[in-house]
């Protein structure tokens, strides 16, 4: 059987490299056209991870760095599925997240924002999707924070999400935003995405049905990775 390749990435849907309102992109964006490659073994394979790579507590950001008690902030569950463009769940794939604390401060030696570090909050977690592609984390809602771009730019509350899928061609890092945040529309990083529907797809709705009454709220965030072609009638792949 021929290995099936992935649908071509929609470069009119994805953000381009050069987005001048996000100033850092100006000197870090390639100017020449990318070389388009049909999938070979190097692209349709990718790393695999198992439960021996992580610990059960790794997906609980309320507990995984707690020293003297729980972190400060609005307690939330973030849950959803990793899917491909065909709508199939992507099972057993690694999902990693990182975020600021409830005050908008990252636990990073390069972050000097005046909001305080939370002694009980690390700000990272990871999990592996189940056999249906489902995942969940527990954390606190991150705060908005200022960043140097224009003098008064603020990032909307967001969680960074890293996903692998089954192939190196599916590798993706994105950010999850929260329903109702007025900063989303004003953020030059969000606005690197040219299509409003693609932005909407990164905004997690409040999901009261998944909340834990008297304990924590929930937001639902599905992540879509590239889908694969079927090998209908293909007995010779033309080209290189």
């Amino acid at each position: 059987m021929k290995p099936a390749e992935f649908y071509q990435r929609d470069r009119l849907w994805q953000p381009p490299a050069l987005t001048p309102d996000y100033k850092t992109s100006v000197a870090r964006s390639p100017r020449f056209a990318m070389l388009s490659l049909q999938g070979s073994m190097s692209e349709i394979t990718g790393p695999t991870f198992g439960h021996s790579d992580i610990d059960a507590i790794d997906n609980d950001l309320i507990k995984n760095y707690a020293k003297t008690g729980d972190p400060v902030g609005e307690r939330i569950i973030v849950h959803g599925r990793v899917l491909d463009e065909n709508g199939s769940g992507v099972p057993n794939t690694l999902v990693e997240i990182w975020q600021a604390n409830a005050g908008g401060r990252y636990r990073h030696k390069k972050d000097s924002y005046l909001a305080p570090i939370d002694p009980n909050f690390g700000g990272c977690g990871r999990t592996i999707t189940d056999d249906q592609g489902y995942y969940y984390f527990r954390t606190v809602k991150p705060g908005a924070y200022p960043w140097r771009n224009w003098v008064n730019n603020w990032r909307p509350a967001h969680i960074h999400v890293s996903v692998f899928g089954t192939a190196f061609a599916q590798r993706l890092i994105t950010q999850m935003y929260f329903e109702g945040d007025p900063l989303i529309a004003k953020c030059p990083i969000v606005q690197t995405i040219p299509d409003q529907r693609a932005i909407d797809q990164l905004i997690a709705p409040l999901d009261l049905n998944a909340a834990v009454p008297l304990d924590c709220l929930a937001y639902k965030f599905d992540i879509v990775l590239r889908g694969r072609r079927s090998t209908l009638f293909e007995n010779r792949l033309e080209g290189n």
Binding site: R9, W13, Q14, P15, P16, A17, Y22, T24, S25, V26, A27, R28, S29, P30, R31, M34, L35, S36, L37, Q38, G39, M41, S42, E43, T45, G46, P47, T48, I54, D55, D84, E85, N86, E96, W98, Y106, R107, H108, K109, K110, D111, G122, C124, H160, S162, F168, R171, L172, I173, T192, I193, D195, A198, Q201, L202, I223, V224, G227, L237, N240
Partner: protein, 203 residues
């Protein structure tokens, strides 16, 4: 009207940002949280092959080193086998070979590096062999969607490689070739923009 196709759309990428280390390399961010950080064992101690170290710097369009970049590597083992079910030979892949790893920069110098074994020739499309190479994926603040490229070796037979030969401007193929700097060390600098801009790939 016609029937809807109902495909989903890939989630849009967003920059990994300056604090990518918190999520993907928390030790570099300045704290320890996980029992095992992932990405520091491309080739375990039992994996056979020539042990090599690859180092380099990512430069921006002004020529300055990019000091907050994170690079992921994906490669085949010394026999050109990927540890993945889509590789028909995967059952023969080297013991303890993960094939995947992460490299981050020294925050002061911008130099990144990783230790691995030298990959072998990989079976390409339609049976055409691909010269030994390491697939790289580069993310950083200011990079909106991860950049894919490949690193080849200057002490291998690259002339017939089907991917290198797709690069129309022949001199640009050199941007994909690492230079041997010692018995088992290679240098691979990546230029995001400007003179000698690296060839990036839409894979």
């Amino acid at each position: 009207m016609v029937q809807p196709l109902n495909y989903l759309k890939e989630s849009a990428s967003q920059t990994a940002g300056p604090y990518v280390h918190i999520g993907l390399a928390p030790g570099a961010a300045g704290f320890n949280i996980f029992e095992r950080e992932l990405g520091w064992d491309i080739a375990g101690p039992d994996a056979r092959g020539t042990r090599i170290r690859v180092e380099g710097v990512v430069y921006d369009g002004t020529g300055a080193p990019v000091k907050d970049v994170l690079i992921e590597a994906w490669q085949a083992d010394a026999n050109g086998i990927y540890p993945h079910v889509e590789d028909p030979r995967h059952a023969d892949c080297a013991t303890g070979f993960r094939g995947w790893g992460r490299a981050i920069t020294d925050f002061d110098t911008g130099v990144w590096g990783f230790d691995t074994i030298k990959p072998g020739v990989v079976q390409g499309r339609n049976g055409r062999p691909m010269a030994p190479h390491i697939n790289l994926w580069i993310v950083a603040r200011g990079i909106n969607i991860g950049l894919n490229t490949r690193m080849y070796f200057d002490d291998e037979e690259n002339a017939a490689d089907p991917v290198l030969n797709l690069v129309e401007q022949v001199h640009r193929r050199d941007t994909l070739i690492a230079h041997k700097t010692g018995p088992n060390t290679y240098r691979f600098d990546i230029r995001l923009q400007g003179d000698g801009e690296t060839v990036f790939m839409d894979i």
